[in-house]
């Protein structure tokens, strides 16, 4: 048959594991971000560092919540 079956780009069995790991990493980086916010003073705060940390944290949290939705059966 010429028909090629299409499957998900990431194996479905990996969704729960992936969600746990990406969410864990995302929460750790979120913690780093908020620790930086509270421990630095107004003078030596660097906007670039803040934005970089928040961007990386939001990517991990975003993908982690997507995999969490998929693992729990809400196939978005």
């Amino acid at each position: 048959m010429a028909a090629k079956p299409i499957a998900s780009p990431i194996p479905v069995a990996l969704y729960p594991t992936l969600s746990v790991f990406t969410l864990a990493i995302g929460l750790v980086i979120t913690a780093i971000f908020f620790i930086y916010e509270t421990t630095s003073s107004r003078k030596n705060r660097s906007l670039g560092k803040e934005l970089a940390t928040s961007a990386v944290a939001s990517v991990f949290l975003g993908f982690g919540s997507l995999f969490l939705l998929l693992a729990s059966g809400v196939y978005v």
Binding site: A2, A3, K4, P5, I6, A7, S8, P9, V12, F33, F34, E37, R45, L47, E50, L51, S54, A55, A57, S58, V59, L61, G62, F63, S65, L66, L69, L70, G73, V74, Y75, V76
Partner: protein, 464 residues
């Protein structure tokens, strides 16, 4: 130029008139055998015809005639051409289409069967025709009590209605039990056990019709789904979610009087002989997350057996169904994506799914299948082996911006023979799959930016 158009018109007219002429007069049915199966509420009739071309020109097609009431209730007509003899018979499917003839007597309906190759003069061909009638068993008495058996009328003709002369024909009618109250006798007709034989009849002219009524007992479950809406949601992240909304009724003799649960449970063989309480749904093999619920909540009376080729869900409504009673419920399940979604050679994706209703031996009065394509799909089109009404809608679901295109297929009078695969084609660029995580990422980033702004903004009035 005008002369050319004139010649073309004449040639077209000649071509159009030839088939009409050759099909009505030049064919003759040498032998016809009809077997009508009345065992369930779906009437199946098998016609074996031996057609001879007694004209001078080749015939490319023939007509099958049906009475006006039968045409309304016809769910499916299929024809096969038989070649070869005895053990080496091969069956070739033929193209069958409903057609209208201008000079039809008494509103007869027609179906046109196209032969594999045009039948030459003097040649014969053997055909096997299957046609399925729904809602053709009329309950009589119309209302019965719980302890009575269900008796129905079947109206038909002892002589096969045909636009051609039929040289010899026989009709066999099979009833589900040996209890036949009465049947119209058109000599020679006799009954032996569960079979009534009408015939053989010799040399009947075209359009001859001999109405018969058979009054017999039929206690098979008259399960009729008044409306079924099946929604198939495709998610490229790995699964197909199917949700089916049923409105089921018992289409047989209406129930009158009280329903005695004591009688029903103690004398089950006598009480409620025509009622049914269990139904079987045939689901795809690798099915998971099956649920069966209605407006009240989950219904626990169900058994699921998964298997290699198919899964079976045996379920019971909350109460047994007697004539005229209704049950509404929802069945939902999930199947893996790779079993049903494929990539065609031209790069388009297509869904290959089974049409029809998963319940066995049920008629669906109105079937709607909605295929929800993922966001970002373009150019949807559906390919089916029979005619359906097609439509497009938009559905808003999880993480949607522009909405998902829904291909709506609608068909009336669906029987289990309609459970054949159909395809829905669409184009999809895989990069669009990133739209959903991108939305989540930007939502989280917005929260971070908001907290940054809060920390950086200085709202002090006093100067430091």
């Amino acid at each position: 130029m005008a002369a050319r158009i004139g010649i073309f018109a004449v040639v077209v007219a000649v071509f159009l008139s030839i088939p009409a002429f050759s099909s009505a007069q030049d064919l003759q049915i040498v032998n016809a055998e009809r077997r009508i199966d009345l065992s369930s509420h779906i009437v199946k009739a098998f016609l074996t015809l031996k057609v001879e071309n007694i004209g001078k020109s080749a015939a490319a097609e023939m007509l099958l005639a049906f009475s006006p009431t039968q045409i309304k209730n016809l769910a499916m007509v299929q024809a096969l051409a038989i070649t070869g003899k005895k053990k080496k018979k091969t069956y070739l499917p033929l193209d069958v289409k409903p057609t209208e003839q201008p000079d039809a007597p008494n509103d007869t309906g027609y179906y046109r069967v196209t032969f594999v190759s045009p039948l030459g003069p003097g040649e014969t061909v053997s055909l096997e025709v299957l046609y399925i009638l729904t809602h053709s068993l009329e309950p009589f008495p119309v209302e019965i009590t719980q302890s009575e058996s269900q008796l129905v009328y079947y109206h038909d003709s002892a002589v096969i209605l045909s636009p051609y002369h039929v040289k010899q024909q026989t009709t066999f009618v099979k009833t589900p039990s040996t209890r036949v109250e009465s049947f119209t006798s058109i000599e020679p007709a006799n009954r032996a056990g569960k079979e009534i034989k009408y015939g053989p009849y010799e040399n009947r002219a075209s359009y001859s019709y001999a109405p018969v009524i058979i009054h017999f007992e039929n206690n098979s479950p008259f399960a009729v789904v008044e409306e079924l809406v099946r929604e198939i949601e495709i998610s490229h992240w790995g699964s197909l979610q199917i949700t089916e909304n049923y409105r089921l009724t018992h289409g047989g003799a209406r129930h009158k009087g009280v329903f005695s649960r004591v009688d029903y449970q103690s004398k089950r063989s006598v009480s409620g002989a025509s009622s049914f309480n269990a139904l079987l749904a045939v689901l795809p093999p690798r099915v998971n997350s099956v649920y069966y619920r209605d407006d009240i909540g989950n219904i626990s009376t169900s058994h699921l057996r998964t298997g290699f080729r198919k899964s079976e869900l045996e379920f019971e409504p909350r109460y047994p169904l007697f004539g005229g009673w209704r049950a509404t419920f929802i069945i939902g399940y999930r199947v893996p994506l790779e079993d049903y979604l494929f990539e065609a050679s031209d790069g388009r994706r297509y869904l290959n799914f089974t049409f029809g209703c998963p319940l066995v031996e049920t008629i669906v009065n109105k079937l709607t299948i909605k295929v929800v394509l993922p966001e970002g799909s373009k150019d949807p089109s559906a390919i089916l082996p029979f005619t359906v009404n097609q439509d497009l809608q938009v559905k808003y679901s999880y993480l949607d911006i522009v909405g998902r295109t829904v291909v709506v297929l609608q068909k009336d009078n669906v029987v289990p023979t309609h459970n054949v695969p159909f395809q829905v084609y669409y184009t999809f660029k895989p990069i669009y799959m990133l739209a959903e995580p991108f939305m989540l990422v930007s939502a989280f980033f917005f929260v971070f930016v908001a907290s940054l702004a809060y920390v950086h903004i200085d709202l002090n009035i006093a100067r430091k």
